[in-house]
């Protein structure tokens, strides 16, 4: 699929702008702090699933009450008109071909994208939170309706943490507080188990795609993905079994949680471990890339994960998501640049930003758009 035209109103630093986008590679150029990334972000928002960079209120130009995006999306033989109104605090609204949809996330069925910026490049060496978000985004990307599950989980966790913080310290003094905690325990276990099962399912689907991408660039060696959890039994994907495992883990952690006043076990503490088997020793043991791989190899893993995500979404939905690359090439060595360039060439539509387009070294650029102080113009 591809985005053919995009119009922005009061989005980030754009007052009122519009631009066409071509099939193939679209290069966004301009000096720093002109709005290049904001344009990528706008394309990403067309999925109705929010920005990869922050909460909705940051998307609205300061002084404006709402931001609006209009786009023409080409999806196979279909031409679809997408309108999205971002109204922080009042709920976003979306139209498909002029008809209101029940929820903005319905747009994800029509318009999807994979965003890859400097933060994603440090996916492997970065914090577990980034890897959890990557996985949860993919859970929602594959099945947009699971956004509700994710939100429900986040709400329950916040509520339970708030309760733990307010629990009286002296034991036995608060039977009501303990009874309330048990209610939140049950909610945490029920929804936590569902979320974990969804994550495990997606991780198993992603693994072969990421491994294939890794092999292509590393010229051997093998990438494996594992779910690391202190409470979920390895290899267990059954929701009921996960729920009872989480229940007993919570029981065990009760004293510590009351002491530390925060939820200590559950999916919010889990992680994805990227493991590598080196090319020179194919029979060897898979080792944690975070600890053992070089900086360059960690980046290769991150690229393999994100391109694997793109492949998985393409196969699962029958349409390639738009690939959004934010200033990624400048961080890569020439060999990996060529590899990524080759991968990009096979994608229906890529939008990438660069502050140094001359150093980019990729062929077949369909369109160049210059961003200067929040204004867009074609620059071929």
């Amino acid at each position: 699929m591809r985005v053919a035209t995009l119009a922005l109103e009061d989005f980030r630093n754009f007052v009122r702008q519009q631009t066409g986008l071509g099939a193939g590679i679209n290069l966004i150029v301009g000096r720093n702090a002109q709005g290049k990334t904001n344009l990528l972000e706008a394309v990403h928002c067309l999925s109705g699933l929010g920005s990869p960079r922050g909460p909705d209120h940051m998307l609205v130009r300061s002084g404006a009450e709402r931001a609006v995006l209009h786009a023409d999306v080409v999806r196979g033989p279909r031409h679809v008109r997408v309108d999205l109104e971002i109204r922080p605090g009042r709920g976003n609204r979306a139209l498909l071909n002029g008809n209101p949809v029940p929820s903005p996330r319905a747009l994800a069925e029509v318009c999807s994208s994979v965003f890859f910026g400097p933060d994603e490049l440090s996916l492997v060496k970065g914090s577990p939170e980034g890897r959890r978000r990557f996985l949860d985004d993919l859970v929602v990307g594959l099945r947009p309706a699971r956004e509700t599950l994710r939100r429900e989980w986040e709400r329950i966790l916040r509520q339970r943490n708030a309760l733990l913080r307010s629990m009286p310290r002296e034991r036995g003094a608060a039977a009501t507080a303990t009874a309330t905690l048990e209610v939140w325990d049950e909610a945490l276990c029920r929804v936590g188990a569902e979320l974990t099962a969804a994550r495990l399912e997606v991780l198993a689907e992603l693994a072969p795609y990421a491994a294939k991408r890794y092999e292509a660039v590393a010229g051997g060696g093998r990438l494996e993905l594992a779910y690391a959890s202190t409470w979920a039994p390895a290899g267990e994907g059954n929701v009921a079994a996960l729920q009872s495992a989480l229940q007993s883990a919570l029981q065990e952690a009760r004293e510590r949680e009351l002491e530390r006043r925060v939820s200590l076990v559950g999916p919010q503490r889990d992680d994805v471990v990227v493991m590598l088997v080196s090319a020179g020793d194919p029979a060897g043991e898979a080792r944690d890339a975070r600890a053992y791989a070089s900086q360059g190899d960690q980046r290769t893993c991150a690229l393999a994960l994100k391109l694997g995500e793109h492949d998985l979404l393409s196969d699962a939905t029958g349409e390639q998501p738009v690939l959004l690359l934010d200033d990624v090439f400048s961080e890569l060595d020439p060999a990996r640049r060529r590899w990524l360039g080759g991968a990009v060439a096979a994608v229906d539509q890529t939008v990438l930003t660069s502050a140094e387009p001359d150093a980019l070294d990729i062929g077949g650029v369909a369109r160049v758009i210059e961003v200067r102080a929040g204004e867009l113009r074609d620059a071929q």
């Binding site: 029940p102 929820s103 319905a106 099945r143 309706a145 699971r146 956004e147 509700t148 599950l149 429900e152 709400r155 329950i156 916040r158 509520q159 339970r160 708030a162 309760l163 913080r165 307010s166 009501t176 507080a177 009874a179 309330t180 048990e182 209610v183 939140w184 049950e186 909610a187």
Partner: protein, 204 residues
């Protein structure tokens, strides 16, 4: 900023829920232009609502008497109590005309983030309505928990269920499921999942 009384009015209005500074300004200027009688009627209505409206002694619904209209009505079925979060929920249920029992307004839902725990709700009052008394009234046989189907409402329902279980009263929860007249394909996964769990047999 505007001069004295006008700015005071805008400030007061913008404290109301759902009214931002711009709406507050619009309402204030509307009142400024409106006939003096209209403005006075509004002011009187505000004063009277605080003065005369109180909470029903039994169910904590809003009322202008000691007991609300439902608690006073002898035709209502006193063996069933429907527990709701707020008085407007009663209006919603009454519109269905499907329910003839009594109500109990909890005055909120359990939400630790907002500092609302079970002790801040009218839960002990609900318990005392379930205990057998010397008064000449039939014992309560069923409590319908009609809290909202969200994280907080669910937690409140679960808390009530656990608390009421030992009393031997039948406890039910409003079903969650698909909107009538809607399309199955547009239902989100959580709603559809709940509808599946709560499915009903069609065979006799």
């Amino acid at each position: 900023m505007f001069a004295g009384p006008l700015q005071d009015l805008i400030d007061e209005l913008s404290k109301l829920p759902g009214i931002g500074p711009k709406s507050a300004q619009r309402v204030a200027f509307h009142l400024l232009k409106a006939p003096a009688d209209d403005a006075a009627a509004l002011a009187r209505a505000i004063v009277e609502v605080k003065d005369k409206v109180r909470l029903c002694r039994t169910c904590f619904n809003v009322s202008d008497q000691e007991l609300c209209e439902y608690c006073r009505d002898p035709r209502r079925d006193a063996t069933v109590i429907c527990a709701v979060q707020e008085p407007p929920d009663i209006v919603a249920i009454e519109r269905t005309r499907e329910y003839r029992g009594l109500y109990h307004v909890l005055q909120g839902a359990i939400s630790p983030i907002e500092g609302v725990g079970p002790d801040d709700l009218r839960i002990s009052e609900l318990l005392s309505r379930l205990r057998p008394t010397a008064e000449d009234r039939p014992p309560v046989e069923e409590v319908i928990v009609a809290t909202s189907p969200n994280v907080e409402g669910d937690a409140t329902a679960l808390y009530l269920a656990r608390l009421l279980q030992p009393l031997g009263v039948k406890i039910t929860r409003l079903a969650s499921g698909l909107p009538v007249g809607g399309d199955l394909e547009y239902a989100d996964e959580v709603t559809l999942g709940r509808a599946l769990v709560g499915r009903r047999s069609l065979s006799a």
